[in-house]
Symmetry: C2
Subunit: 496 residues, 2 copies
């Protein structure tokens, strides 16, 4: 700790304590999802809530504002200044909202989400509205407080929590572009695929064999097993800590495809965490940049690399080795299986081609809702109209598979959805850069040489961590700002 930067040194000590508390929260949460038997839940919830209080107290300590101000006047170097910027952001997010609002949001979100689990199954939109009105009211209050402090619009203030620096003005332009070409592209691809013949794989696929296949693929993808694990949970995720990354998947004996590609996806998240710079792991500077950038790593692995014919050719022999010989496991057929497009109602089951439509629809509705342009009762009609316009699907009256399908809104999480498609766009942009430097990329992938991909990601995304704001990170990595044309070219080149 530099003695001539007393304020910065004191902040570093505080954030190092927070890093230790976050470690315990991350491991206890992973355990809760992957290991804990049901009767442990209440005591675990209490212990994690105690830790939340402690972390919130640490981050809203009355001494912090003066330290942040004093540190900003110390002669910090550029990296320390970036670290200070992230500390400032953390402090702001924790401090701006009055305690009362934080508690009210937590209560309303918990109540609404809990009831939603049964209301969704019962297609009960009106019952849902009773709790949801309060959730939206509090989210708007939150957005207003953040908006005033940050000097940006209410929805932008929420967006900024997940993807710092992104504004809806920019998203509007990007998404308008996507909407102009995506529906036509989906139509063309479906026409083309109507004439393809493919062979379905025949199960059952023993779970132990699926697991062995997944572990071998993780090895090919560079997962460090001395710094992480693969386990099972209901909802697959990447958790744990940077030094010890815990990914999970979910197996079905009928379907090996989903868990196999799910593992590729989570391994993308995992390698980002495993390769963040260790020397500042305990500081905000050393954290993953944003939700969008995190998603760009999983989607680089899953969409750009994992579903490519070259990668599927590389792993086809492993599929046969673990699951037995089947004609369906030939490389060309695996590529057909993993790129088959079938627009559906459910976002989490959507294909990379239709996924952006699901996100844009949600973005447009939640932005209008938070900005006060629509009210909660307007959601179903908008949902149905946009689903027809973007994906040609009739969802009238089907709330269960329509506007009640995601956990985000019941939970009170607005501004998160765009991260998914931003991630897909960043990933396409990275791979355009990598391909430009290495026109033989597919040949390398098929031969098992993935090093140019990992080296590029390591240099441009993993090592910089939170050194730059998101937009500068992408600009430095690829030489241009976020450009949705790369996603379009990727999709056209893979699917047409």
């Amino acid at each position: 700790m530099p003695m001539n930067f007393p304020a910065y040194g004191a902040l570093t000590a505080t954030f190092t304590r927070l890093y230790h508390f976050q470690h315990l929260a991350a491991i206890a949460s992973w355990d809760q999802a992957a290991m804990m038997p049901p009767k442990g839940n209440e005591a675990r919830g209490q212990a994690l809530a105690e830790l939340d209080v402690l972390m919130h107290q640490t981050l809203t300590d009355k001494a912090l504002p003066a330290l942040l101000k004093a540190a900003s006047q110390e002669a910090l170097d550029a990296a320390q200044r970036a670290n200070l910027r992230e500390m400032q952001r953390d402090w702001q997010h924790a401090s701006l909202l009055p305690e009362r609002l934080v508690q009210a949001r937590s209560l309303a979100g918990t109540r609404c989400e809990h009831a939603w689990r049964t209301q969704r199954k019962a297609n009960d939109w009106l019952g849902f509205l009773e709790n949801f009105r309060e959730v939206v009211k509090l989210a708007r209050e939150q957005a207003t407080v953040l908006s005033q402090a940050k000097g940006i619009s209410r929805y932008d203030a929420l967006l900024d929590q997940f993807e710092p620096g992104i504004r809806s003005a920019q998203l509007d332009v990007i998404f308008a572009d996507v909407k102009a070409w995506l529906p036509g592209l989906i139509g063309k691809v479906r026409d083309k695929q109507a004439h393809e013949t493919l062979i379905e794989a025949k199960g059952p696929f023993a779970i132990e064999r699926q697991r062995a296949l997944g572990l071998e693929i993780m090895g090919i993808l560079g997962f460090d097993f001395s710094a992480g694990r693969l386990d099972v949970s209901n909802h697959p995720f990447c958790g744990g800590v940077a030094e010890d990354v815990r990914i999970t998947t979910r197996y079905s004996e009928d379907d090996f495809m989903r868990s196999m590609m799910g593992i590729v996806h989570e391994t993308g998240h995992a390698r980002y965490e495993q390769n963040l710079p260790r020397e500042c792991a305990h500081l905000p500077l050393g954290r993953a940049r944003s939700m969008g950038i995190h998603e760009s790593q999983s989607l680089s692995f899953e969409m750009q690399l994992g579903r490519s014919p070259a990668f599927l050719a590389l792993i086809a022999p492993l599929v046969k080795k673990h699951l037995g010989e089947q004609a369906a496991f030939e490389a060309a057929n695996l590529a057909l299986l993993y790129t088959r497009v079938k627009p559906g109602l459910i976002r989490v089951d959507a294909h990379e081609l239709s996924y952006p439509a699901h996100v844009i629809l949600r973005y447009e509705i939640e932005r209008a809702l938070i900005e006060g342009e629509i009210e909660v009762q307007d959601i179903p009609a908008l949902w149905e109209q946009k689903m027809m316009a973007y994906l040609g699907l009739d969802t009238r009256g089907d709330y269960q598979n329509g506007c009640l399908q995601d956990i985000h809104w019941p939970w009170g999480s607005f501004g998160y959805f765009p991260s998914y498609t931003l991630g897909a766009m960043y990933a396409a942009q990275y791979f355009a850069s990598i391909r430009q430097a290495h026109p033989d990329l597919d040949t390398r992938i098929a031969a098992g040489d993935l090093s140019v991909i990992f080296d590029w990601l390591n240099q441009h995304i993993w090592q910089p961590a939170s050194r730059w704001e998101t937009q500068e990170l992408v600009q430095r990595a690829t030489g241009e700002a976020l450009n949705p044309q790369h996603l379009r070219r990727h999709l056209e080149s893979r699917y047409l």
Copy 2:
């Protein structure tokens, strides 16, 4: 929280916070032993150390002494008063030692233990002494501080940390008695067993089958799988929290006997934890009574129940079901295998018959060492002399399998060893009570009816938790004070 007991209420709030922190420490420690990949260790160590600091700060908060004093003048009921007694004990243990001494002990113990791992393998007693002198010096300092505060002898002050209320004057009488009959009994049993023929089981025993066998036995023993798990670790233990107990074992393909009985042992610890009274789980009152009482549970399960011919008859069909048919798995042969006596040099491998001799030897040496009657260089000669006297084994010059074999002393833990044999004696005393009430106990066990055992333990040990001091607990449970004759009768009846 009762409003008319403000001091007691404030203490309850503080100890509830501690209970939440202990939850996180327990789960993170279990994970460290059973799940964590090696590169996670440094960050985990830092996070756990941060939590230690936090727990120590909470327990040494300057407000506590006044609250403890004020609460003692509130009109508490008997259970609350017992709770206050345990809070007082926790506070005393945390506060009596100066911070400097706590840190010095931790450093010296860590250094000595770390070097011991290689010194033990190298039989390097002289190298070990270099670090061990400091460990003993600091342990004596600690004992002196505790001794002055508690008004008991230095060794008794250490003993009191693990088995509150026990004094060496009492142990001297008990152990003198054991020394009078144990060596003769071992000799007689060995003579008898020399004429027995038994059949060794033939491996390999697949680990998955051993695990399935262990899980089924845990079920018979009443382990609640919705409130706990069985996993693998290098050193088997019972960890986790009362609401979610994590036991571990270690498998060897050559030997199913050790892991099978190890699981029975840990299940004894686990059922104690799983059945502590839930309504005061968050308070010291609701905790397990002591190390000796905890050990009495694992030894009730392993020695009294698990190695009995009746229990082995009950589970023999399960052994065959999971590991295949072998003549060795006949009930009578399993009973011979699990009761064969072969005095050896290593305490953790010792049989129930010779185990007390290992403990008494260590007790006599560590008590003299802490009281200043001997110095560290006197240990090997004493060890060799006592090993010959109690077990007839010549260990001259073999430090590796002699006085360097245990982790306790390098680590600076003195006063713990007697808990093992106290536990064995308590367990024998409980079963004498149970047998008196149920002369048909063995018939019941063989028929799979273990309820009278579990009911007795639940009523007399599990539910009382820390309500009574250890000696009163045993007196209330069995109608008499600790009486080593029960262990003698148990051993004579099983082995002669």
